[in-house]
Symmetry: C2
Subunit: 434 residues, 2 copies
């Protein structure tokens, strides 16, 4: 048996969370050694990437040594974890990406964080979020090219995993805040079904939409993280599920996808088809073209209410961009809420029928490669409908564009089919790696 102390740092850094978990669970690797290697990588990358809002290496090392000297805590035993700074943490400041909360220090962990720690994860620090998970960015850069955005709102989590500083990180998605940064940073990001994971202790933006999820380097990584956060660490990905029936959706926003993104999606379809995966085009009902707009209205309307304290008591601490969004949200009343609800009920019903013929829908994860410049985090349009419908969605990195930045495809399954969806995504991942 190879002792992990023999593995050089470069090899360890190259392993995914699932491989590392195996080494840690079998005590072939110590939490201290893994953390040491991660911290070296942080020292190397962080000055350029700026993924962290707060990091505490000494505190993390203390926990690593405690884990090494004690019994196995759970499936995340010894894995360093980044936590988006939208989750409350009892031993780190929690700023929600806003100067209003610069001095905020909660005494409690968000439920998802408590579950990860209880499963043995070591919270290395808090990762940068945009302002209250909206569109005003933090300082984070794309690890593939620091002149480009990492995407948002889970900017730091995606960038830290993309830069291989940590194997796993927590994020949230209201519009496209997991899928888009995952695509831009070239990592796997998973947004579970709405309602699967508790949001207790996560700053509220839009109650009908906010969803907790995570980032890793492969499908098995995010499955591991999701199972722990869902309070079901005994979950196992189905094996031998067979090849999923894939519906290719160009969506109503296809012309917003860059030529490289369009080409990559179609190449992916050809590769899957060549590998024997049943792939066919799926036409979404016309009404689906309007769902991105409904999503936008629901998000603005709910944010206007959720951020009432900040808007009324600390308006000077809000960005112009956020104030505009809240202003727009103020205009939607009960009548629109009812109309949104009716549109959603109808779309859910149609979606249910659509999934009778498919296991996964395949769409672009974003409009293309990460945009140049750090002032904007990119357009969430390709994820809005799935966020509105509460469906489990995953970004799978599938290549690079002409600027040398990652491109990803989005795989979406039926509501609460998270285990099956992840299983099918893993099949696709394996086929595309061949």
């Amino acid at each position: 048996m190879t002792s992990s102390t023999a593995l050089p740092p470069a090899t360890l850094i190259g392993l995914n969370a699932s491989q590392l978990a195996h080494l840690l669970q079998t005590r072939q690797l110590t939490a201290e050694r893994l953390l040491t290697v991660c911290l070296e990588r942080v020292a190397e990358c962080e000055p350029q990437v700026k993924a962290w809002r707060h990091i505490d290496p000494a505190f993390a090392m203390e926990q690593a040594r405690m884990l090494d000297s004690g019994p196995l805590r759970g499936p995340l035993h010894g894995l360093p974890l980044g936590v988006k700074d939208l989750f409350d943490t009892r031993d780190f400041p929690t700023g929600y990406g806003s100067p209003i909360y610069a001095d905020h220090r909660p005494n409690h962990d968000a439920a998802a964080v408590a579950l990860c720690r209880n499963a043995g994860a070591i919270v290395l620090g808090k990762t940068v979020t945009t302002e209250f998970a909206t569109f005003s960015p933090g300082p984070t850069s794309n690890p593939h090219n620091v002149l480009h955005t990492p995407g948002g709102s889970s900017s730091g989590s995606a960038a830290a995993v993309g830069a291989q500083m940590i194997p796993l990180a927590l994020g949230t998605q209201t519009a496209a805040s997991i899928i888009r940064p995952a695509a831009y940073c070239g990592v796997v990001g998973f947004k579970p079904s709405f309602g699967l994971i508790s949001r207790a202790g996560v700053k509220s933006l839009s109650e009908s939409l906010d969803t907790v999820g995570g980032f890793g380097r492969c499908v098995a990584d995010v499955a591991l993280l999701t199972s722990v956060m869902a309070g079901a660490p005994e979950w196992r990905l189905p094996t031998g599920a067979g090849k999923p029936r894939i519906g290719v959706c160009r969506t109503a926003h296809w012309d917003q996808a860059s030529p490289a993104m369009q080409h990559t999606l179609m190449t992916t379809v050809q590769r899957l088809s060549a590998a024997g995966v049943p792939v066919s085009d799926v036409e979404l009902p016309d009404s689906f073209g309007g769902l991105a707009g409904v999503h936008d209205e629901v998000m603005c309307s709910e944010a206007f209410k959720a951020l009432a304290d900040e808007r009324l008591n600390h308006p000077e601490g809000l960005s112009e961009r956020l104030l505009e969004m809240l202003e727009r949200g103020a205009g939607f009343g009960l009548k629109q809420t009812l109309a949104h609800r009716a549109a959603l009920a109808s779309a859910r019903h149609q979606m249910g029928r659509l999934f009778a013929g498919f296991d996964l829908l395949l769409t672009p994860s974003a409009c293309g490669e990460a945009e140049r410049g750090l002032e904007r985090t990119g357009d969430p349009v390709f994820s809005r409908a799935w966020s509105l419908l509460g469906l489990p969605s995953l970004n799978l990195p599938v290549g690079f564009g002409p600027q040398g930045l990652p491109l990803g495809v989005q795989l979406t399954g039926p509501i609460f089919s998270d285990t099956a969806t992840l299983g099918f995504c893993q099949e696709i991942e394996a086929l595309l790696q061949q």
Copy 2:
């Protein structure tokens, strides 16, 4: 024009929030005078009723004087307000009914609290909640008989309004935590449609169910409070809506209603019928009998996840009763979540069709009068299905039982018909007062 200074305290105390608001808006009554009268009433009742966890008369008086010397702030200008201690407040400790949060002092207001303050309400203090809004009671007594429970979980808010210490109070409902204490304390309680009011800054128990609402002395009071919390203070109750078509539901739990409760409901039906209101029996589909059970499972399952930090890091601070509930919640996995969701979708669909023939459903608000003893807060069974379906529900006090304690009926409308539902409830209230 009568100056309010001429109104004796007993008269002022007897007025409802809407009447008081009119006097305050027209400057016939000062906030200082109203608060003084409320504080006298608190001094008189609080030693027995124990509705408050924290109260700050001096701070409230300071705000009252500021309001009197400034412009009108909004529709709640000068009205003293009780806030359930499940809502974060920036100038009061916030304990969630748990010793774990005995020293918790948030720096921010829950969204609903911020909106009420912005509309001119004076938060007099925090009212007693059961432990995390579950079933382990605080010290509060029923204002009609201190040997009886006030109901829960919004125990202090219902009792403080019932004792006429304050005209308005905020509450939350996950199972029956507004309707039941309102019925027990003889006040109007309103649980709006799920999703109407932001829960930002409210301790999470069960994300699919937790709903913010309020207490007052009449339908117009809770409509006033709801419109402010919904961010729509321009709401007006419809007038001349006509008589609602009422469906009388005995529900699958009819035999759990006391003879007095059954008699009171049927007497109410006769009185409405005699007043020309179209009343008819409605048979709920058989499957509805199971919704209370589904509700219970969803609540336990989500609470198990939401209280992860407390369960894992502070188990010694949780009551036996709550630990049992969480233990039960641990047993439900993805498969049950899907089954619950399917049951709910089917029930919602059937409910929609049912409401084609009715404007309001009429059911008991609780099993009967408030139970004797303070160890239990009563059975939520008559509200579970409406909470699960997210429907707007209101308790209307309609008389007293053999023990001299209040009895109430529950009026429930279609989802997001909150304005119309409140309008119809007001018609019923007026007819029953004739």
